[in-house]
């Protein structure tokens, strides 16, 4: 739960701001930076996203180039992470796959948070029948294990990068909707909402201008944590062959493609993509947890 005393505080005047000692400004950022694990997570994420953006610059081979006579060669100075069974450079594929996996995760979370925030806000703000209908639908979707729902949906429609993103986005919002609904219910009872209502603000204005900014902290934390789940879900689907399809690399389908070669000792095909998934998921979790503690110091250490 967000700390209302700090979040719902009226905007400070410039005069007030100048009287705050510099080391006490930006308390959220300061608290975040004090959390070493969270900062480590943040650095890993920045590095991975930088690598994804700089993909054309930092890769050493085209990701889909089949190098003749280079099947399953172990890591060397020429191929830092070896080559796969079709003679493609694993390092270049890992960077390209990272681009695909990170972008897919980002796009899926965008859908999750858009649907989750909209429905959660409507349910929480209006209550009554709107709330009942949205929340019962949420209960229904939450009763089926997410991965079972994803596998069903992904295999019924033709598997591809777009299908994966849409399927994850459209099936995963109920958890977020529930959380944001709770936040809206709590905030709509606050005095500043009553004040806004008394001067004639419309429901839409109250939701967007008054409640939403105060719920933003929780939405950011939830989105960060969802990025880790979404990347893990994309990897799981692609590993099962129901997500991103070869030759487009993703960390999940690189694992699937490399697992048979593991029997012949080609460990580099599974080690590196697996580590990449693990580090990304870990980093987003650490960062999300650190953000939650930074936004709400009472939550710290729990």
């Amino acid at each position: 739960m967000a700390d209302q005393s700090t979040l719902a505080r009226p905007v400070a005047s410039a005069d007030h701001w100048n009287r705050v000692p510099p080391q006490q400004r930006f308390p959220v950022i300061r608290r975040f930076l004090q959390n070493r694990l969270a900062v480590a997570g943040f650095i890993i994420i920045v590095l991975f996203y930088a690598a994804a953006f700089l993909e054309p610059v930092i890769t050493t081979y085209p990701y889909d180039e089949l190098l003749p006579g280079m099947r399953n060669t172990p890591p060397s100075s020429e191929h830092w992470m070896g080559t796969d069974r079709s003679g493609r450079d694993v390092y270049s594929r890992l960077v390209k796959g990272g681009q695909v996996s990170l972008a897919a995760g980002f796009a899926a979370v965008l859908i999750v948070m858009t649907i989750g925030t909209t429905l959660g806000a409507l349910a929480g703000f209006f209550g009554g029948i709107v709330d009942a209908v949205i929340m019962r639908f949420t209960d229904i979707l939450l009763s089926i294990p997410l991965i079972l729902l994803l596998i069903t949906a992904a295999s019924l429609f033709r598997p591809s990068l777009q299908t994966t993103i849409i399927v994850i986005g459209v099936s995963s919002w109920p958890g977020a909707a529930r959380l944001i609904r709770g936040q809206f219910i709590q905030l709509k009872g606050q005095e500043f909402v009553t004040a806004a209502r008394s001067i004639g603000a419309s429901p839409l204005q109250i939701m967007l201008r008054h409640i939403f900014p105060n719920a933003l902290a929780i939405i950011i934390v939830e989105a960060t944590l969802w990025l880790s789940y979404a990347i893990l879900l994309e990897a799981s689907l692609s590993y099962l062959g129901l997500g991103v399809q070869i030759p487009t690399p993703s960390w999940g389908n690189m694992l699937q493609d490399g697992q048979r070669e593991l029997l012949y000792g080609a460990w580099w095909l599974t080690l590196f993509p697996g580590l990449a998934i693990f580090l990304t998921v870990l980093a987003f979790n650490l960062m999300g947890d650190g953000l939650r503690d930074a936004f709400d110091p009472r939550h710290r250490g729990r």
Partner: protein, 322 residues
């Protein structure tokens, strides 16, 4: 209390109806013809035969009518017969696989709780110590390792290179127990690890919450030793929220079965679901999702009921915790 329980269970009926509509619509909106899925592409090449099969399956009727027929059968306990799997009745298929999943998940859940609870308690009582920091980092790592990757590495390392354990589980169900336990070890490790990570984190925060309460200070001020306070007064109260935590993990636990059973070829419901989805065996997919959804909903109600029984502060009037 009885009225509350009855009301909660009656409320499951509209939810289950909703679930049936969602799943039926999802499966029938998807491209692909169930008749072709049942006959196979060769037999479906004959248009007369295809038409005949469609009529036999009732696929020529409008979709809402098909839904009502299916629902009517479902209510009387008739889940139909599988399109594939030698056209066995769906319930027989599920019955064959049920214990495989229950054994595997039961052991992993029990071991997870057995290890996580003491770890979480020790971690909380020594907050910010080296042990506590280790547990925190360890649970982050445990939750971030992709379970299919861990399963793969264990298969190759322990199964193939060291040769200590069987890599996949085909045929294990018929093996005698002195052989059979070997098949359990790797899947149980993979499934237990995230359970430990989840439960230890929640146990720690639940215990920390309790330690800060006034009644703990009161108990100490009566002159009880801090050990007695912690375990007699603290532990009991810290365990109550864990009922909900474990209950809410059921969908994750059942979902984990789908991927891990597929990797280890474990003869359980997860593998059945995976195979049925791959073969587009609609009756099996629908039955499995309906039964899973019902199980999750029932466990949610039971969790709330047990919570209300254990914690007298919970009012059953509105079913929410104070």
């Amino acid at each position: 209390m009885t009225a509350y329980v009855i009301r909660r269970f009656l409320f499951l009926i509209p939810l289950l109806l909703g679930l049936s509509i969602v799943m039926f619509t999802l499966i029938r909106l998807a491209p692909g013809d169930p008749a072709i899925a049942m006959m196979g592409p060769t037999a479906a090449a004959n248009p007369d035969y295809l038409e005949q099969t469609r009529r036999n399956l009732g696929l020529d009727k409008p979709l809402p009518v098909q839904y009502l027929i299916w629902l009517g059968n479902l209510v009387t306990g008739d889940f139909g017969t599988a399109f594939t799997f030698n056209n066995k009745p769906v319930l027989d298929l599920i019955g064959e696989r049920f214990w495989g999943t229950v054994q595997l998940q039961g052991i992993s859940l029990f071991l997870g709780i057995l290890i996580a609870f003491p770890v979480g308690i020790v971690s909380a009582t020594r907050q910010y110590s080296a042990i506590d920091n280790g547990v925190t980092v360890g649970s982050f790592i445990g939750l971030a390792i992709p379970n299919f990757w861990l399963a793969l590495l264990l298969q190759v390392w322990i199964g193939v290179q060291l040769g200590w354990l069987p890599v996949i589980s085909t045929g294990q169900a018929n093996a005698p127990w002195d052989e059979r336990w070997k098949y359990f070890i790797m899947p149980v490790i993979v499934l237990t690890l995230p359970n430990i990570a989840y439960f230890a984190r929640f146990m720690r925060s639940s215990m920390l919450e309790v330690i800060r309460q006034d009644y703990m200070t009161t108990a100490r001020s009566k002159g009880l030793s801090s050990r007695a306070v912690l375990y007699r007064h603290g532990l009991r109260n810290a365990l109550i929220p864990m009922i909900t935590v474990i209950g809410l993990q059921l969908p994750r636990i059942l979902g984990g079965a789908v991927i891990i059973e597929q990797i280890f070829a474990w003869p359980g419901l997860g593998l059945l679901a995976f195979d049925a989805i791959g073969r587009r065996d609609y009756p099996v997919i629908l039955a499995l999702t309906m039964l899973t959804g019902a199980a999750v909903m029932i466990v949610n109600v039971l969790t709330d009921v047990v919570y209300a029984l254990v914690d007298p502060r919970v009012s059953v009037a509105d079913g929410s915790a104070s």
